[in-house]
Symmetry: none
Subunit: 218 residues, 2 copies
DNA sequence: ATAATTTTTTAGACAAGTCTAAATTTTAAT
DNA sequence: ATTAAAATTTAGACTTGTCTAAAAAATTAT
Protein backbone atom coordinates (compact mmCIF):
# COMPACT_ATOMS: atom_id res chain seq x y z
CA UNK A 1 0.00 0.00 0.00
CA UNK A 2 1.47 3.29 -1.14
CA UNK A 3 0.06 6.40 0.53
CA UNK A 4 -0.96 9.63 -1.21
CA UNK A 5 2.06 11.34 0.24
CA UNK A 6 4.43 8.63 -0.91
CA UNK A 7 2.97 8.82 -4.39
CA UNK A 8 3.53 12.56 -4.45
CA UNK A 9 7.16 12.16 -3.45
CA UNK A 10 7.74 9.49 -6.09
CA UNK A 11 6.17 11.71 -8.71
CA UNK A 12 8.40 14.62 -7.71
CA UNK A 13 11.51 12.44 -7.78
CA UNK A 14 10.52 11.09 -11.17
CA UNK A 15 10.15 14.55 -12.64
CA UNK A 16 13.32 15.89 -11.06
CA UNK A 17 15.37 12.92 -12.20
CA UNK A 18 14.43 13.26 -15.88
CA UNK A 19 12.35 10.13 -16.16
CA UNK A 20 13.98 8.38 -13.28
CA UNK A 21 17.50 8.20 -14.61
CA UNK A 22 19.70 10.51 -12.53
CA UNK A 23 19.77 10.83 -8.77
CA UNK A 24 18.05 13.70 -6.99
CA UNK A 25 19.05 15.83 -4.01
CA UNK A 26 17.06 16.22 -0.83
CA UNK A 27 16.89 19.98 -1.26
CA UNK A 28 15.60 19.71 -4.80
CA UNK A 29 12.73 17.56 -3.62
CA UNK A 30 12.02 19.86 -0.69
CA UNK A 31 11.91 22.86 -2.98
CA UNK A 32 9.64 21.21 -5.52
CA UNK A 33 7.25 19.90 -2.91
CA UNK A 34 7.29 23.07 -0.86
CA UNK A 35 8.34 21.27 2.28
CA UNK A 36 11.39 21.07 4.54
CA UNK A 37 14.52 19.09 3.81
CA UNK A 38 14.13 17.20 7.07
CA UNK A 39 10.67 16.03 6.05
CA UNK A 40 12.12 14.82 2.79
CA UNK A 41 14.81 12.84 4.56
CA UNK A 42 12.16 11.21 6.73
CA UNK A 43 10.05 10.25 3.74
CA UNK A 44 13.01 9.01 1.74
CA UNK A 45 13.77 6.56 4.50
CA UNK A 46 10.25 5.18 4.30
CA UNK A 47 10.39 4.90 0.53
CA UNK A 48 13.75 3.20 0.79
CA UNK A 49 12.32 0.77 3.34
CA UNK A 50 9.64 -0.13 0.81
CA UNK A 51 12.19 -0.52 -1.97
CA UNK A 52 10.73 2.29 -3.99
CA UNK A 53 13.98 4.28 -4.02
CA UNK A 54 17.68 3.62 -3.73
CA UNK A 55 19.18 5.80 -1.06
CA UNK A 56 22.55 6.30 0.52
CA UNK A 57 22.96 9.02 3.11
CA UNK A 58 24.12 12.32 1.70
CA UNK A 59 24.16 10.81 -1.79
CA UNK A 60 20.69 11.66 -3.01
CA UNK A 61 17.97 9.24 -4.16
CA UNK A 62 16.97 7.52 -7.35
CA UNK A 63 13.90 5.46 -8.15
CA UNK A 64 13.99 1.69 -8.20
CA UNK A 65 12.14 -0.03 -11.01
CA UNK A 66 9.19 -0.46 -8.69
CA UNK A 67 9.32 3.21 -7.69
CA UNK A 68 9.50 4.29 -11.30
CA UNK A 69 6.43 2.25 -12.19
CA UNK A 70 4.52 3.70 -9.26
CA UNK A 71 5.47 7.20 -10.37
CA UNK A 72 4.54 6.70 -14.01
CA UNK A 73 1.25 5.12 -12.99
CA UNK A 74 0.39 8.23 -11.00
CA UNK A 75 1.42 10.42 -13.92
CA UNK A 76 -0.66 8.28 -16.26
CA UNK A 77 -3.69 8.65 -14.04
CA UNK A 78 -3.16 12.38 -13.63
CA UNK A 79 -2.98 12.97 -17.36
CA UNK A 80 -5.90 10.71 -18.24
CA UNK A 81 -8.07 12.53 -15.70
CA UNK A 82 -6.99 15.85 -17.21
CA UNK A 83 -8.17 14.66 -20.60
CA UNK A 84 -11.46 13.58 -19.06
CA UNK A 85 -11.99 16.92 -17.35
CA UNK A 86 -11.29 18.92 -20.48
CA UNK A 87 -12.92 16.68 -23.09
CA UNK A 88 -15.96 15.51 -21.17
CA UNK A 89 -16.61 17.97 -18.37
CA UNK A 90 -15.75 21.22 -20.14
CA UNK A 91 -12.95 22.27 -17.84
CA UNK A 92 -10.46 24.69 -19.33
CA UNK A 93 -6.86 23.55 -19.49
CA UNK A 94 -5.81 25.79 -16.62
CA UNK A 95 -8.51 24.54 -14.23
CA UNK A 96 -7.69 20.87 -14.37
CA UNK A 97 -4.49 20.59 -12.41
CA UNK A 98 -5.85 20.93 -8.88
CA UNK A 99 -8.60 18.38 -9.40
CA UNK A 100 -6.32 15.96 -11.24
CA UNK A 101 -3.92 16.16 -8.28
CA UNK A 102 -6.68 14.56 -6.22
CA UNK A 103 -7.99 12.12 -8.80
CA UNK A 104 -4.54 10.73 -9.56
CA UNK A 105 -4.52 8.95 -6.20
CA UNK A 106 -7.70 6.92 -6.68
CA UNK A 107 -6.80 3.25 -6.51
CA UNK A 108 -8.49 1.02 -9.08
CA UNK A 109 -6.80 -0.57 -12.03
CA UNK A 110 -10.11 -1.20 -13.74
CA UNK A 111 -11.10 2.42 -13.31
CA UNK A 112 -8.08 3.69 -15.14
CA UNK A 113 -8.22 1.04 -17.86
CA UNK A 114 -11.86 1.81 -18.56
CA UNK A 115 -11.26 5.53 -18.43
CA UNK A 116 -8.45 5.14 -20.95
CA UNK A 117 -10.81 3.25 -23.28
CA UNK A 118 -13.66 5.70 -22.70
CA UNK A 119 -11.37 8.55 -23.74
CA UNK A 120 -10.28 6.51 -26.75
CA UNK A 121 -6.71 5.97 -25.65
CA UNK A 122 -5.39 9.53 -25.73
CA UNK A 123 -1.65 9.92 -26.17
CA UNK A 124 -1.28 13.41 -24.74
CA UNK A 125 -2.91 15.44 -21.99
CA UNK A 126 -4.39 18.93 -22.53
CA UNK A 127 -0.99 20.52 -21.88
CA UNK A 128 0.61 18.43 -24.59
CA UNK A 129 2.46 16.13 -22.22
CA UNK A 130 2.58 12.49 -23.26
CA UNK A 131 0.55 9.87 -21.39
CA UNK A 132 2.58 6.80 -20.48
CA UNK A 133 1.16 3.32 -21.04
CA UNK A 134 0.42 0.84 -18.24
CA UNK A 135 4.02 -0.29 -18.17
CA UNK A 136 5.21 3.28 -17.73
CA UNK A 137 6.57 3.63 -21.22
CA UNK A 138 6.26 6.89 -23.05
CA UNK A 139 5.95 6.68 -26.76
CA UNK A 140 9.42 6.27 -28.26
CA UNK A 141 10.86 9.56 -29.22
CA UNK A 142 13.93 9.24 -31.31
CA UNK A 143 17.26 10.90 -31.34
CA UNK A 144 17.39 14.13 -33.31
CA UNK A 145 19.48 17.26 -33.63
CA UNK A 146 18.56 20.22 -31.49
CA UNK A 147 18.33 22.27 -34.68
CA UNK A 148 15.33 20.21 -35.79
CA UNK A 149 13.19 21.32 -32.87
CA UNK A 150 10.56 24.03 -33.15
CA UNK A 151 9.96 26.94 -30.82
CA UNK A 152 8.44 25.91 -27.51
CA UNK A 153 9.57 22.30 -27.67
CA UNK A 154 11.45 20.68 -24.87
CA UNK A 155 14.10 18.00 -25.12
CA UNK A 156 16.80 16.18 -23.25
CA UNK A 157 20.43 16.29 -24.27
CA UNK A 158 21.53 12.77 -25.10
CA UNK A 159 24.81 13.27 -26.95
CA UNK A 160 27.04 15.26 -29.27
CA UNK A 161 27.87 14.92 -32.96
CA UNK A 162 31.01 17.02 -32.74
CA UNK A 163 33.05 15.71 -29.86
CA UNK A 164 35.96 18.14 -30.10
CA UNK A 165 37.18 19.39 -26.77
CA UNK A 166 36.39 22.94 -27.83
CA UNK A 167 32.75 22.01 -28.25
CA UNK A 168 32.64 19.98 -25.07
CA UNK A 169 34.18 22.84 -23.14
CA UNK A 170 31.65 25.20 -24.64
CA UNK A 171 28.84 22.91 -23.48
CA UNK A 172 30.37 22.60 -20.06
CA UNK A 173 30.71 26.33 -19.71
CA UNK A 174 27.05 26.76 -20.50
CA UNK A 175 25.91 23.98 -18.23
CA UNK A 176 24.82 21.64 -20.94
CA UNK A 177 25.47 18.03 -20.01
CA UNK A 178 23.99 14.66 -20.67
CA UNK A 179 20.48 14.67 -19.32
CA UNK A 180 20.17 18.44 -19.31
CA UNK A 181 16.66 19.55 -20.18
CA UNK A 182 16.58 22.17 -22.88
CA UNK A 183 13.62 24.22 -23.97
CA UNK A 184 13.65 26.11 -27.26
CA UNK A 185 12.39 29.57 -26.38
CA UNK A 186 12.78 31.10 -29.84
CA UNK A 187 14.31 30.33 -33.18
CA UNK A 188 15.49 32.77 -35.84
CA UNK A 189 14.87 31.74 -39.42
CA UNK A 190 17.53 33.83 -41.11
CA UNK A 191 20.59 32.46 -39.29
CA UNK A 192 19.05 29.46 -37.53
CA UNK A 193 20.16 30.76 -34.17
CA UNK A 194 18.15 29.84 -31.12
CA UNK A 195 17.41 31.02 -27.64
CA UNK A 196 17.31 28.20 -25.12
CA UNK A 197 16.17 27.89 -21.60
CA UNK A 198 18.39 25.65 -19.49
CA UNK A 199 17.29 25.27 -15.92
CA UNK A 200 16.58 28.87 -14.99
CA UNK A 201 19.17 30.30 -17.43
CA UNK A 202 18.63 31.67 -20.89
CA UNK A 203 21.23 31.01 -23.57
CA UNK A 204 21.57 32.15 -27.18
CA UNK A 205 23.22 29.65 -29.48
CA UNK A 206 24.25 29.58 -33.16
CA UNK A 207 23.37 26.92 -35.70
CA UNK A 208 26.86 25.46 -35.26
CA UNK A 209 25.85 24.47 -31.78
CA UNK A 210 22.32 23.25 -32.49
CA UNK A 211 23.57 21.17 -35.40
CA UNK A 212 25.96 19.25 -33.18
CA UNK A 213 23.82 18.38 -30.22
CA UNK A 214 21.77 15.23 -30.19
CA UNK A 215 18.57 15.46 -28.20
CA UNK A 216 15.54 13.42 -27.53
CA UNK A 217 12.27 15.29 -27.91
CA UNK A 218 10.04 15.18 -24.89
CA UNK B 1 -11.66 21.90 5.67
CA UNK B 2 -13.36 18.58 6.32
CA UNK B 3 -11.10 15.52 6.19
CA UNK B 4 -11.89 12.20 4.47
CA UNK B 5 -12.35 10.60 7.85
CA UNK B 6 -14.70 13.29 9.08
CA UNK B 7 -16.76 12.94 5.92
CA UNK B 8 -17.06 9.20 6.49
CA UNK B 9 -18.27 9.71 10.04
CA UNK B 10 -20.84 12.28 8.94
CA UNK B 11 -22.09 9.95 6.24
CA UNK B 12 -22.45 7.10 8.74
CA UNK B 13 -24.30 9.32 11.21
CA UNK B 14 -26.58 10.52 8.45
CA UNK B 15 -27.52 7.01 7.42
CA UNK B 16 -27.96 5.76 10.98
CA UNK B 17 -30.11 8.70 11.93
CA UNK B 18 -32.55 8.25 9.04
CA UNK B 19 -31.74 11.39 7.12
CA UNK B 20 -30.30 13.26 10.04
CA UNK B 21 -33.39 13.42 12.21
CA UNK B 22 -32.83 11.22 15.28
CA UNK B 23 -29.75 11.02 17.46
CA UNK B 24 -27.25 8.20 17.12
CA UNK B 25 -25.29 6.20 19.68
CA UNK B 26 -21.52 5.90 19.80
CA UNK B 27 -21.71 2.12 19.55
CA UNK B 28 -23.94 2.20 16.49
CA UNK B 29 -21.40 4.38 14.71
CA UNK B 30 -18.52 2.19 15.83
CA UNK B 31 -20.26 -0.91 14.54
CA UNK B 32 -21.15 0.62 11.20
CA UNK B 33 -17.69 2.01 10.65
CA UNK B 34 -15.91 -1.08 11.91
CA UNK B 35 -13.95 0.87 14.46
CA UNK B 36 -13.78 1.18 18.24
CA UNK B 37 -16.18 3.18 20.38
CA UNK B 38 -13.30 5.18 21.81
CA UNK B 39 -12.25 6.27 18.33
CA UNK B 40 -15.80 7.38 17.69
CA UNK B 41 -15.87 9.46 20.84
CA UNK B 42 -12.62 11.14 19.80
CA UNK B 43 -13.96 11.96 16.37
CA UNK B 44 -17.31 13.16 17.67
CA UNK B 45 -15.49 15.73 19.75
CA UNK B 46 -13.72 17.02 16.67
CA UNK B 47 -16.94 17.17 14.68
CA UNK B 48 -18.65 18.94 17.56
CA UNK B 49 -15.79 21.43 17.73
CA UNK B 50 -16.41 22.17 14.05
CA UNK B 51 -20.17 22.51 14.60
CA UNK B 52 -20.96 19.60 12.35
CA UNK B 53 -22.75 17.65 15.09
CA UNK B 54 -24.60 18.39 18.32
CA UNK B 55 -23.15 16.36 21.13
CA UNK B 56 -23.71 15.97 24.84
CA UNK B 57 -21.66 13.37 26.67
CA UNK B 58 -23.37 9.99 26.94
CA UNK B 59 -26.38 11.35 25.02
CA UNK B 60 -25.45 10.41 21.46
CA UNK B 61 -24.97 12.75 18.49
CA UNK B 62 -27.10 14.34 15.83
CA UNK B 63 -26.10 16.32 12.76
CA UNK B 64 -26.29 20.08 12.67
CA UNK B 65 -27.62 21.68 9.52
CA UNK B 66 -24.05 22.15 8.35
CA UNK B 67 -23.21 18.53 9.13
CA UNK B 68 -26.27 17.31 7.30
CA UNK B 69 -25.34 19.26 4.19
CA UNK B 70 -21.80 17.92 4.29
CA UNK B 71 -23.16 14.37 4.58
CA UNK B 72 -25.67 14.71 1.75
CA UNK B 73 -23.01 16.28 -0.45
CA UNK B 74 -20.80 13.23 0.06
CA UNK B 75 -23.75 10.94 -0.66
CA UNK B 76 -24.55 12.95 -3.77
CA UNK B 77 -20.99 12.60 -5.00
CA UNK B 78 -20.89 8.90 -4.20
CA UNK B 79 -24.05 8.18 -6.14
CA UNK B 80 -23.18 10.35 -9.12
CA UNK B 81 -19.83 8.59 -9.41
CA UNK B 82 -21.61 5.24 -9.26
CA UNK B 83 -23.78 6.27 -12.18
CA UNK B 84 -20.68 7.36 -14.06
CA UNK B 85 -18.90 4.07 -13.43
CA UNK B 86 -21.85 1.97 -14.57
CA UNK B 87 -23.11 4.09 -17.44
CA UNK B 88 -19.83 5.27 -18.90
CA UNK B 89 -17.11 2.90 -17.77
CA UNK B 90 -18.99 -0.40 -17.96
CA UNK B 91 -18.65 -1.29 -14.32
CA UNK B 92 -21.24 -3.76 -13.06
CA UNK B 93 -23.49 -2.81 -10.18
CA UNK B 94 -21.52 -4.78 -7.67
CA UNK B 95 -18.11 -3.35 -8.57
CA UNK B 96 -18.81 0.32 -8.07
CA UNK B 97 -18.97 0.73 -4.33
CA UNK B 98 -15.30 0.48 -3.46
CA UNK B 99 -14.23 2.97 -6.09
CA UNK B 100 -17.08 5.36 -5.33
CA UNK B 101 -15.96 5.32 -1.67
CA UNK B 102 -12.76 6.93 -2.85
CA UNK B 103 -14.19 9.26 -5.47
CA UNK B 104 -16.80 10.69 -3.08
CA UNK B 105 -14.05 12.59 -1.26
CA UNK B 106 -12.71 14.54 -4.23
CA UNK B 107 -13.13 18.22 -3.52
CA UNK B 108 -14.35 20.31 -6.43
CA UNK B 109 -17.77 21.84 -6.75
CA UNK B 110 -17.31 22.36 -10.46
CA UNK B 111 -16.36 18.73 -10.93
CA UNK B 112 -19.55 17.45 -9.40
CA UNK B 113 -21.76 19.99 -11.16
CA UNK B 114 -20.26 19.13 -14.51
CA UNK B 115 -20.42 15.42 -13.83
CA UNK B 116 -24.10 15.77 -12.95
CA UNK B 117 -24.73 17.53 -16.27
CA UNK B 118 -22.59 15.05 -18.21
CA UNK B 119 -24.68 12.21 -16.81
CA UNK B 120 -27.83 14.17 -17.69
CA UNK B 121 -28.94 14.79 -14.13
CA UNK B 122 -29.67 11.25 -12.98
CA UNK B 123 -32.18 10.88 -10.15
CA UNK B 124 -31.10 7.44 -8.94
CA UNK B 125 -27.87 5.53 -8.62
CA UNK B 126 -27.41 1.99 -9.99
CA UNK B 127 -28.76 0.48 -6.76
CA UNK B 128 -31.95 2.50 -7.06
CA UNK B 129 -31.06 4.95 -4.32
CA UNK B 130 -32.06 8.54 -4.96
CA UNK B 131 -29.41 11.18 -5.64
CA UNK B 132 -29.87 14.32 -3.53
CA UNK B 133 -29.62 17.74 -5.14
CA UNK B 134 -26.99 20.35 -4.24
CA UNK B 135 -29.04 21.50 -1.27
CA UNK B 136 -29.25 17.97 0.06
CA UNK B 137 -32.88 17.42 -0.83
CA UNK B 138 -34.02 14.05 -2.08
CA UNK B 139 -36.78 14.00 -4.62
CA UNK B 140 -39.86 12.30 -3.28
CA UNK B 141 -39.56 8.90 -4.83
CA UNK B 142 -42.33 6.57 -5.86
CA UNK B 143 -39.81 3.76 -5.66
CA UNK B 144 -41.54 0.43 -5.10
CA UNK B 145 -40.89 -3.24 -5.40
CA UNK B 146 -41.85 -4.99 -8.61
CA UNK B 147 -43.94 -7.38 -6.52
CA UNK B 148 -46.26 -4.53 -5.57
CA UNK B 149 -47.40 -3.99 -9.15
CA UNK B 150 -50.67 -5.35 -10.50
CA UNK B 151 -51.26 -7.20 -13.78
CA UNK B 152 -51.01 -4.98 -16.80
CA UNK B 153 -48.93 -2.28 -15.15
CA UNK B 154 -45.68 -1.04 -16.64
CA UNK B 155 -42.63 0.23 -14.80
CA UNK B 156 -38.98 1.16 -15.14
CA UNK B 157 -36.27 -0.72 -13.32
CA UNK B 158 -34.48 1.71 -11.01
CA UNK B 159 -32.49 -0.55 -8.73
CA UNK B 160 -32.07 -3.68 -6.68
CA UNK B 161 -32.70 -4.49 -3.04
CA UNK B 162 -30.51 -7.60 -3.09
CA UNK B 163 -27.21 -6.62 -4.64
CA UNK B 164 -25.52 -10.02 -4.41
CA UNK B 165 -23.60 -10.90 -7.52
CA UNK B 166 -25.79 -13.97 -8.00
CA UNK B 167 -28.84 -11.78 -8.33
CA UNK B 168 -27.10 -9.23 -10.50
CA UNK B 169 -25.88 -11.98 -12.79
CA UNK B 170 -29.40 -13.37 -12.99
CA UNK B 171 -30.69 -9.96 -14.03
CA UNK B 172 -27.92 -9.54 -16.51
CA UNK B 173 -28.65 -12.93 -18.05
CA UNK B 174 -32.27 -11.95 -18.53
CA UNK B 175 -31.50 -8.54 -19.89
CA UNK B 176 -32.81 -6.59 -16.97
CA UNK B 177 -30.79 -3.46 -16.39
CA UNK B 178 -31.26 0.05 -15.09
CA UNK B 179 -33.87 1.81 -17.14
CA UNK B 180 -35.27 -1.41 -18.57
CA UNK B 181 -39.01 -1.14 -19.14
CA UNK B 182 -40.94 -4.00 -17.61
CA UNK B 183 -44.60 -4.88 -18.11
CA UNK B 184 -46.39 -7.24 -15.76
CA UNK B 185 -48.26 -9.60 -18.07
CA UNK B 186 -49.70 -11.85 -15.40
CA UNK B 187 -49.41 -12.50 -11.68
CA UNK B 188 -50.18 -15.73 -9.79
CA UNK B 189 -51.73 -15.31 -6.40
CA UNK B 190 -50.73 -18.64 -4.88
CA UNK B 191 -46.93 -18.32 -5.22
CA UNK B 192 -46.67 -14.63 -6.19
CA UNK B 193 -44.81 -15.51 -9.37
CA UNK B 194 -45.12 -13.20 -12.37
CA UNK B 195 -44.82 -13.20 -16.10
CA UNK B 196 -43.08 -10.16 -17.45
CA UNK B 197 -42.61 -8.63 -20.82
CA UNK B 198 -39.19 -7.14 -21.32
CA UNK B 199 -38.60 -5.55 -24.67
CA UNK B 200 -39.95 -8.30 -26.96
CA UNK B 201 -39.16 -11.17 -24.57
CA UNK B 202 -41.39 -12.87 -22.07
CA UNK B 203 -39.94 -13.95 -18.74
CA UNK B 204 -41.37 -15.87 -15.80
CA UNK B 205 -40.02 -14.85 -12.40
CA UNK B 206 -40.52 -15.99 -8.82
CA UNK B 207 -41.41 -13.81 -5.86
CA UNK B 208 -37.74 -13.91 -4.81
CA UNK B 209 -36.99 -11.86 -7.90
CA UNK B 210 -39.95 -9.47 -7.80
CA UNK B 211 -39.31 -8.77 -4.13
CA UNK B 212 -35.79 -7.63 -4.83
CA UNK B 213 -36.23 -5.37 -7.79
CA UNK B 214 -36.99 -1.70 -7.27
CA UNK B 215 -39.06 -0.06 -9.95
CA UNK B 216 -40.69 3.25 -10.61
CA UNK B 217 -44.28 2.94 -11.79
CA UNK B 218 -44.85 4.53 -15.13
C1' DA C 1 44.60 22.62 3.33
C1' DT C 2 41.91 24.79 6.25
C1' DA C 3 37.97 27.59 7.07
C1' DA C 4 33.41 29.02 5.76
C1' DT C 5 29.27 27.79 3.77
C1' DT C 6 25.80 24.84 2.23
C1' DT C 7 23.46 20.53 2.34
C1' DT C 8 21.76 16.79 4.72
C1' DT C 9 20.59 14.26 8.67
C1' DT C 10 19.21 13.61 13.50
C1' DA C 11 16.65 14.58 17.64
C1' DG C 12 12.71 15.89 19.65
C1' DA C 13 8.08 17.78 19.14
C1' DC C 14 3.27 18.11 17.42
C1' DA C 15 -1.55 17.08 15.16
C1' DA C 16 -4.60 13.55 13.23
C1' DG C 17 -6.58 9.31 13.75
C1' DT C 18 -6.51 5.14 15.73
C1' DC C 19 -5.96 1.61 19.50
C1' DT C 20 -6.14 -0.86 24.43
C1' DA C 21 -7.21 -0.75 29.07
C1' DA C 22 -9.26 1.45 32.80
C1' DA C 23 -12.72 4.57 34.71
C1' DT C 24 -17.22 6.53 34.60
C1' DT C 25 -22.03 6.98 33.48
C1' DT C 26 -26.33 5.07 32.04
C1' DT C 27 -29.57 1.38 31.68
C1' DA C 28 -31.56 -2.97 33.01
C1' DA C 29 -32.59 -6.41 36.41
C1' DT C 30 -33.70 -8.02 40.58
C1' DA D 1 -33.37 1.10 45.23
C1' DT D 2 -29.36 -1.35 44.77
C1' DT D 3 -26.72 -4.04 41.98
C1' DA D 4 -25.16 -6.02 37.62
C1' DA D 5 -24.44 -5.20 32.92
C1' DA D 6 -23.80 -2.39 29.03
C1' DA D 7 -22.45 1.81 26.91
C1' DT D 8 -19.48 5.60 26.87
C1' DT D 9 -15.59 8.29 27.95
C1' DT D 10 -10.80 9.08 29.48
C1' DA D 11 -5.92 8.18 29.72
C1' DG D 12 -2.04 6.88 27.62
C1' DA D 13 0.17 4.93 23.60
C1' DC D 14 1.35 4.30 18.61
C1' DT D 15 1.83 5.65 13.46
C1' DT D 16 2.06 8.96 9.72
C1' DG D 17 3.61 13.02 8.15
C1' DT D 18 5.11 17.20 9.31
C1' DC D 19 8.02 20.82 11.77
C1' DT D 20 12.24 23.44 14.27
C1' DA D 21 16.70 23.46 16.00
C1' DA D 22 21.00 21.43 16.30
C1' DA D 23 24.61 18.27 14.66
C1' DA D 24 27.18 16.14 11.01
C1' DA D 25 28.86 15.70 6.38
C1' DA D 26 29.98 17.57 1.94
C1' DT D 27 31.20 21.34 -0.87
C1' DT D 28 33.32 25.78 -1.91
C1' DA D 29 36.36 29.44 -1.24
C1' DT D 30 40.39 31.43 0.39
Amino acid sequence: MVTFSEENYLKAIYHLSKHGSVSVSTNAIAQRMDTKASSVTDMIKKLSEKDLVDYKKYQGVSLTESGRLTATTVIRKHRLWEVFLVDKLNFSWDEVHEVAEQLEHIKSEKLIDQLDAFLEFPTHDPHGDPIPDKQGNFKKTEKMLLSQLAEGETCICIGVKDSSSEFLQYLDKHQIALGTIIKVVSKETFDESMTLQINAEVLAISKEVSNNLFVKAN
